[in-house]
């Protein structure tokens, strides 16, 4: 009888235990889910948009599709790759009248490239980011006929990091990628 009462009290304890364990499991699941959501959100904030220069097809969409009035995409210059050419094919029109800074000889639509004499016959080319609109015309000239040292990058002092980047939606080369915010640039250092 004692065994019987003992057996009958056992299932009551098990039920209580079961309910308690269930409550714990639910609580842990909830906390885990909450942590997961928070974790995912913080990861999303840890990424920014960038252009993979190897995929960029210099389509011109960066200049016209950014939500900012002036695009956050700018031409940048890998000086280590530059030939410091007298006839820079990123700076000059394909058939310039002369190798000078006359507007009719330059292909940048906003005169954003500064040409500075270094020593015969070398010239340094610097991008004025306040003028650059990211149209990639110079990038095309440099890549097609030169060393490919000019290329486009999203500048993160201007980019507002939209969830769905307007340029990425129309990027002809699918060159827009998400990169970690602590390594926000995809720099060209070699061919």
């Amino acid at each position: 009888m004692a065994e019987t009462s003992g057996n009958s009290s056992q299932p009551g304890t098990n039920r209580r235990q079961f309910l308690r364990d269930s409550a714990r499991v639910f609580a842990l699941t909830g906390i885990g889910g909450l942590l997961g959501v928070i974790g995912t959100r913080s990861t999303a904030k840890g990424y920014v948009w960038q252009i993979d220069p190897r995929k960029c097809v210099r389509c011109g969409n960066c200049a016209t599709h950014c939500v900012l009035e002036q695009s956050a995409v700018k031409c940048v210059h890998s000086y280590a790759m530059c030939g410091y050419c007298q006839l820079c094919t990123g700076y000059f029109e394909p058939e310039p009248n002369g190798l000078n800074t006359g507007a009719e000889n330059c292909q940048c639509p906003t005169a954003a490239i500064q040409r500075t004499f270094v020593e015969d016959p070398y010239y340094e080319y610097t991008i004025d980011e306040d003028l650059c609109i990211g149209c990639a015309k110079c990038v095309e000239g440099c890549t097609r006929f030169g060393n490919g040292s000019l290329y486009l990058q999203v500048r993160h002092d201007r980019c507002v990091n939209c969830n769905e980047c307007a340029i990425s939606k129309v990027c002809a080369g699918d060159a827009f990628v998400r990169v970690p915010a602590d390594q926000p640039y995809l720099l060209k250092t070699t061919h």
Partner: protein, 347 residues
Amino acid sequence: MRDNMRDQVNEAMNRREFFGRGAAGAGLALAGTAGLRLGLGKGFAAESAFALDASRLGKTDPKLIRYEEVARFSCPDAAPSRLAIGADQRLYLASSKQVSVLSLTGELLRAIPVSSPARCVALGAEGEIYAGLRDHVEVFSSKGQRVASWESPGPRTWLSGLACGGNDIFAADSGSRTILRYDRTGKLQGRLGRKDAARSVPGLVAPSPYLDVEMGRDGLLRVSNFGRHAVETYTADGDLEMSWGKPSAGIEGFCGCCNPVAITLLPNGKYVTCEKGLPRVKVFSERGEFECVVAGVESFPENARSGAPSRGLDCTLGGLDVAVDAEGLVYVLDLVAENIRVLKEKA
């Protein structure tokens, strides 16, 4: 009752039609969206207000083309870089794993393995083979046995052209922007082409690894000072004798940032030049006057696209090289298509 049934049948058919048309409509809408996206993707580049239109530069006046292709064959090894023709009238091709010895019809006669990619090649008076690797020269017997490996002149060395003349071997070093003058034992005798105002030498300019050198029958050295869009003539001692060439995308000049990337001489002393960016091969007189086109941009479609958006490459990965045999046939090496074209002057 019949009317009711007819209505029900019509209703059933209408529903079917509705679903059928709905599915067709959805399909069309999907197809339309995909088409629009594709069209925008490809069309935008062409329609962009900022497009660099270089299409007009890719057309050559047919009247200027005085050579025709008579043969074409593939390179036996990947990443070919330079071509030479020896006194034995065989082709010597420098490439990633070997120096290939070919007959003038493209038959592989011998493959001489190299320890690192061969970037240039030249033939000595006794048939010995000089192969320029990135930073040093290796010497092989005519049978392909390695007989010497010369010391590297420095860490910045990037050999891109070789020429032999008398007892001298001249190596074009794009890294140091000079022509290295060696004796036949590999001892460095001097450097040519350094900027020297006292000798009126402007200095070689090499924005990319294409500096080329060629020995003329007159014993004078021809150098492609391609960063200045010029071809220069030097004595073996480094005196500048002559310079010609001008930058221009027009057919009479050298295009892009740096051209010509390869030079050679016809038996009559005229120059044959190769350009990259706009891949074209042209003939100039002994004085540097433009004479005719051997092969225009249209002849090298794959090479011309080397810097195109879809390739993800740039102009430094294209280029051509050229050699001429005793008959005056022009052999053009296409570095992108990895083939050799044989061109003959039209009758």
